[in-house]
Amino acid sequence: MKISAFHLMPYRELPADFERRYESVWVTPPWWELADARRVGQYYNWTLDELLYAAKCGFDGVCTNEHHQNAYGFMPSPNLMGSVLARATNGTNVAIVQMGATLPTSNPPLRVAEEYAMLDCISGGRLVAGLPLGSPMDVNLCYGITPMEHRERYREAFALTLKAWQAREIFSWNGRYFQLATVNLWPRPIQEPHPPVWVPGSGSISTFDFAVEHDVCYCFLSYSGARSAKTMMDGYWRVVAEKGRDLNPYRAGFLQLVVVAESDARAEEKFARHVEYFYHKCLHVPGVWFSPPGNQDYRSLVATMANPVRRAENPKNLRYRDFVEKGYVIAGSPATVRDRLKEEVINGLHVGNLMVLLQIGSMPHELAMENIELFGREVLPGLRDFWDDGRWVNHWWPERLRQSAAPVAAGLAAGGA
């Protein structure tokens, strides 16, 4: 089992009536009305401190990700964050999990290949290379990529990246979207043939196929918890079997929101409003923006329109206890959290690479640190050995870190936490 700390870096102090006053948390929230650059500087540093603290508390990896023009999570450049994390965790067994730089918006996408190679070199071969498609809000709305070209660009950029890392000879790339006469990457990653690749998704069937065909780890980034992900992930494992791959649980990653306290009741007292802030404000986006015309291919469009059955319920109508009851958030005492994670997520979805979101919405720094510390001390040790029966190898984890049962965190740089 590998367990990583995930971070979005949200704006933690949106006004109470945010979702009623503004159109969206993404693309159009007015910076000058809502935000303050000095405060944001503090957020970035807290975010880094929280992730480094997770590294110190025994997590196997730390995750950053890329989003644009929003107050939901704004690390426009995950690699700037990742580079700080890589440097500060040298001497440890913590993986730098970039979830990651968005290929279709990097032009040329070779920039992602280069920066990931840099991170792998700086970290001494501890990079996990997440290669996401990017959300339509980021890619189509903020960065101007035509929805109909989004997936095509991604596939071409993905192939170019993998080739650029591995090619022994200088090559030319005469693609549909990218043309490069002389590709000769400097630097190359330490890990051979290349760093492990994770492809995050939100349940699109075409991404399942892509992940299995390319033999990468598919990560379901869901905010609706394991119960509603069950059908989706069962579908993924069906594709894995159909395409003749083994059912290695490390082929799957899953993101889960978690809050831990001394008791279930105490968890509600401490975290309820931060969880509600996340679901009510940080996910406040008009529905059609998630799928602008052309972003889905025709087949998927027909399927989605014909089966609105699985339309997610509106989280704005739910409160903390609903989120916990439905498993959107796993909350409570260490025992409650450990048991639910085991049963619903790890075993229920057959997941080997677990990511947990521990700073949620408006959660202040001190509280986030408590959540991280308690999870690391009381929950993580009880999960670490899962899948550790010698049957499965985590091919999707940096090779030199696969065996480490407990990361060595003593070497953390002084500025880290």
Partner: protein, 275 residues
Amino acid sequence: MTTHVQTSRVIETQERTVSVWQDRVRIRVLSKGRGPALVFFHGPWGLTWDPFLDELAQSFSVLAPAHPGTTPDAHDDVYHLDGLWDLVLCYDELLEALGIRDAAFVGHSFGGMVACELAAAYPDRARRLALIAPLGFWRDPDRIINWMLLEPGELRRQIFRDPECDAARRMFPRSEEQDSSATAARVRMVWAMGTTGKFIWPIPDKGLKKRIHRVKAPTLLVWGREDRLVPPVYADEFVGRLSDARVQTVADTGHAPHLEQPATVARAVREFLGQ
């Protein structure tokens, strides 16, 4: 190039599918009427034969192609086109296949832009141009609303001055539980927006300003006075650049004046094209 003709259920409206682009792009063409050739390029919400086209068919031989990707059972053909230049060449091939040397071009919204681009690329192919609320330019103070990002109800209110008019009801059939025809209509509309959006995302200014001076055809611009998507002020961009152009605004209509007031708009277009 192959042509396949069949008579559709709509009386007198002919339907054929023409293959262009080395048979990779199939385009369904609806046609009706007698007289000089008139090619109608539809807007971002797909092609349907409507009362406006019926009016035109009284004086013209109307040919209405479906933009690539919007022909039934040829949805993925649009992936063979990389950009506007490919699209314009495709339409040149289509006219060739239909045996049309020149014609009157009429276009609505996205189709107006296509008609104008075609007339700029092949000035001798366009005898006269009638452009209804065409795209093609961008003014920072008058930003065009991206209709692809609107919920259906809001889209309806933005297209039509009166969202309860008959044309609006036809374009947005009421969705009942398990109503497969309403679902099919929504799929057609979303896919039409996606395929036409491929050529104009994220800003529908793809360089017409560099090419429009090549247009030789006298041009009529028709604009709904209450167009909320592409404000009537955009007519100035065309008139200022075309050597022979005039504007007719239509009261009490929005971005689809030919659907909200088919008789009025058809009369204006027929008069202009018949001159």
